[in-house]
C-alpha cells in the first residue's frame, strides 16, 4: 500500500510537469494576449510598459521557467484580466461546480443503478425496454437542448423550479453551498439533473450488462439454493459484483463532470469554473487557463487514486501492492 502510494505520487509529479509544458506552449501558440488586453489607443511606451510588466517580452522558455519557479512556491500566477491570483479565482468558483458535479453523479447513481438492475433482471419486459430506450435518449440528446427543454417545462410552463443561479447559499466548512437550503436545492436540481442525464445513461448500461452477466453465474444460483431472499441476492450478491465497473467509470466521469460542466453552467447561469474557463480562453488569460488545467489534471490524478483504493475495497482479488501504479 505504501509502495503503491509512493510510486503513484512520483508518477503524478511527472505527469503534472509534462502537462504544464504542453499547456504552456499550447496557450502560447494560440494567440498574443497583448492584442486583447491593451487598449489599442494607448501609446507605444504605455504598451511596452504593460508588456514588460506582464513579462511577455521575454522568450517563451524564460517565461516558462519563471512560471515553474513560481508554481513550486505555490503561486500559479496572476490573472491578466482580473488582476488577482489565478488560484484564488478558481477556488472561489470551485465549490459551485463541485456541488453541481457531486449532485449530478449522486443522481446518476441513485437513479441509474436501480434502473440498470431492473433492466438487467427483466430485459424483455416493457419496463426493461423502456429504461433502455430512455438511456439511449440520455446518451444522444445534446445537453444544451435538454437543459433548455427542462427550463421550458419546469420553470416556464409549470413554474415548479427556478431556471438560473444558485439560490440561497449558506457557509459550510468555510465555503458557500446551495444544497443545504431549500431554495438552493430547488436551484440545483435542474442543472444537476441535466448534467446527470448522460452519466445516468452510462450507469444504466453498465449496471444492466453487469446484472445480466452476474445473474447467470453459479454463485447466484448457489445463493438462491441457500434460501436467501431475492432482496439479499440482488442487493448484496449481485450489487457488489456490478459495482466494480460502475465505480471505475463514474470515478473518471466525476472528473470530467467537474472539468467540463461548461454547457450546463452556461445554460443555467451557474457561476462555476466551467464558465470561467470559457471566458478566460476568450480573453487569452494565460495564467488562469494554465492554472485551471493544472488543477484539472491534479483532480483527475486524485480521483484515479481514490478509485483504485475503492477497487481494492470492492474486489478482494485486487491488491494495491500488486498494481502497476
Amino acid at each position: 500500500m505504501l509502495a503503491f502510494t509512493v510510486r503513484r505520487l512520483l508518477q503524478s509529479v511527472i505527469v503534472l510537469f509534462v502537462m504544464s509544458i504542453i499547456v504552456f506552449l499550447g496557450i502560447y501558440a494560440i494567440g498574443n494576449p497583448v492584442d486583447i488586453l491593451i487598449n489599442p489607443e494607448a501609446d507605444i511606451a504605455e504598451q511596452e510598459a504593460t508588456i514588460r510588466r506582464l513579462g511577455l517580452d521575454k522568450p517563451v522558455w524564460t517565461q516558462y521557467f519563471t512560471f515553474l519557479t513560481n508554481v513550486l512556491q505555490g503561486d500559479l500566477g496572476t490573472s491578466f484580466v482580473h488582476n488577482e491570483p489565478a488560484l484564488l479565482i478558481i477556488l472561489e468558483r470551485l465549490p459551485a461546480t463541485m456541488e453541481l458535479a457531486v449532485g449530478a453523479v449522486g443522481l446518476a447513481i441513485i437513479i441509474g443503478i436501480p434502473a440498470g438492475i431492473i433492466a438487467g433482471l427483466y430485459p424483455d419486459s416493457i419496463i426493461g425496454r423502456g429504461i433502455m430506450a430512455g438511456s439511449i435518449l440520455g446518451f444522444s440528446l445534446p445537453t444544451f437542448w435538454v437543459g433548455l427543454m427542462l427550463i421550458m417545462l419546469f420553470s416556464v410552463m409549470l413554474g415548479w423550479l427556478p431556471a438560473s443561479g444558485r439560490g440561497d447559499t449558506v457557509g459550510f466548512l468555510g465555503v458557500q453551498v446551495s444544497f443545504l437550503t431549500w431554495d438552493g436545492l430547488t436551484h440545483i436540481f435542474l442543472p444537476a439533473f441535466n448534467l446527470a442525464l448522460f452519466k445516468m445513461s452510462l450507469v444504466i448500461r453498465l449496471a444492466r450488462a453487469g446484472t445480466r452477466e452476474v445473474m447467470l453465474q453459479d454463485y447466484i444460483k448457489f445463493a438462491r439454493a441457500k434460501g436467501l431472499s431475492n432482496v439479499r441476492v440482488i442487493g448484496v450478491h449481485v450489487l457488489k459484483n456490478i459495482l466494480i465497473p460502475v465505480v471505475t467509470v463514474l470515478g473518471l466521469e466525476l472528473g470530467s463532470v467537474i472539468a467540463f460542466a461548461v454547457v450546463t453552467e452556461t445554460v443555467f447561469a451557474w457561476p462555476g469554473i466551467g464558465k470561467l474557463l470559457i471566458d478566460s480562453i476568450g480573453n487569452l488569460d494565460r495564467p488562469l487557463v494554465v492554472a485551471y488545467l493544472l488543477m484539472t489534471v491534479t483532480m483527475f490524478i486524485i480521483i484515479n487514486f481514490v478509485v483504485d483504493i475503492l477497487y481494492s475495497l470492492l474486489d478482494p482479488r485486487v491488491r494495491l501492492g500488486d498494481m502497476k501504479a
Binding site: 441457500k226 457488489k240 478482494p316
Partner: protein, 328 residues
Amino acid sequence: MTGNEPTLCVENLQTYFYTKSGVIKAVDDVSFTVDKGEVLGLVGESGSGKSVTGFSILGLVDPPGRIAGGRIRFKGHSLTTLPEKEWRNLRGSRISMVFQDPMMTLNPVLRIDTQMIEAVTAHENISRQEARTRARDALGQVGIPSPDERLKAYPHQFSGGMRQRVAFSIALINKPDLIIADEPTTALDVTIQAQILHEAQKLCRDTGTALIWITHDLTVIAGLSDRVCVMYAGRIVEAGGINQVLDTPHHPYTYGLIGSVPSRNKRGAPLAQIAGMTPSLLNLPPGCAFRQRCPRASRACLTEPEIHELKDGRAVRCFHPYEEEATA
C-alpha cells in the same frame, strides 16, 4: 411426518423448457424415491436431465423452464404446490445443494463468513455471533484447518478442493434432510475426490441425511451410493441397487456405459464406445430415445417403452433388456 415416509418422493416429474425453437423436455416422466440416510446415484451423460432434476427439486428451474407436471413430495409434503416463499424456506435449510464447479459457487467479492452466516440467518432468527460460531464449527467439520482465520478469507484464497469443502459446509450448516450434489467432484483431482466421497458417505451414515449424487461417472458412485438411476434423454432408463445394476445391467444403454469404463483387464484393447451421439432434446425421434444407438433395437422400439418393475426393486425401460447372464 410418519417414520416410514421416504425423505423425497419424485413422481412422474416433467420439467420442460419453452424456447422459441420448441419445447425441450429436459426431464420427462422421472420417478424415484430417496429414503432417510440413503445415497441415490443419478447417472447420465451431459444433457440427460440429471442437473435439471436436481434444480426442479429445489424449485430453481430458470425461465423459460418450468415444472410442467408430476409431483415432488418431501417428507410427505408436496413441494410443487407450495408457495414460492415456503419453498425458499426449505432451500438451504431442509434441502441443500452442492454444485459442480467449486471455483464458481462462492461469490468472489464476499468473505466466507458473510456467505456462511447469511445461510444460517436466512432461516433462523439467531444472532450473528451464534451464526458465526456455527459457521466455524461447520468449517471444522469438513476438515478445514484453523476455521476461525479461514472465515475471514475470500474464496480466491482457497484451493479448488478447499472451496468445495466450504460449499459442502454451507450445504450442511443447517443440518438438512436432503443434499443434492451435482457432480461435486468432477472438477477436483482424484485424491480430493476420494476424500470428499468418503466424508459424504460418513455424513449420511452418521446423521441420516439423504443424498442425491448426480454424476456422469459410474466409478464415482460405485463405492458410494446404495441405489442408482440411469438417465437418458430426460428419462430414467434403468434403476436398482447399485451392485445389481453394475453386475447385471438390463438396459442396453447402461450396458454400454459400463462397457466403456476403462479397466485393467482390457489393457491395450480399444475402449468400447456407444455408437452415435446423444439425440437433440428438441426433436427426439418417436419411440425409444436410445433406439438409433442401440444394438438390440427392433420394430417394437418405434413405440415408447414403459418402465417395467422387476424383482429386487429394479426397473428398466426397454423391450429387449439384457438378461442376467448377459455380462457373466
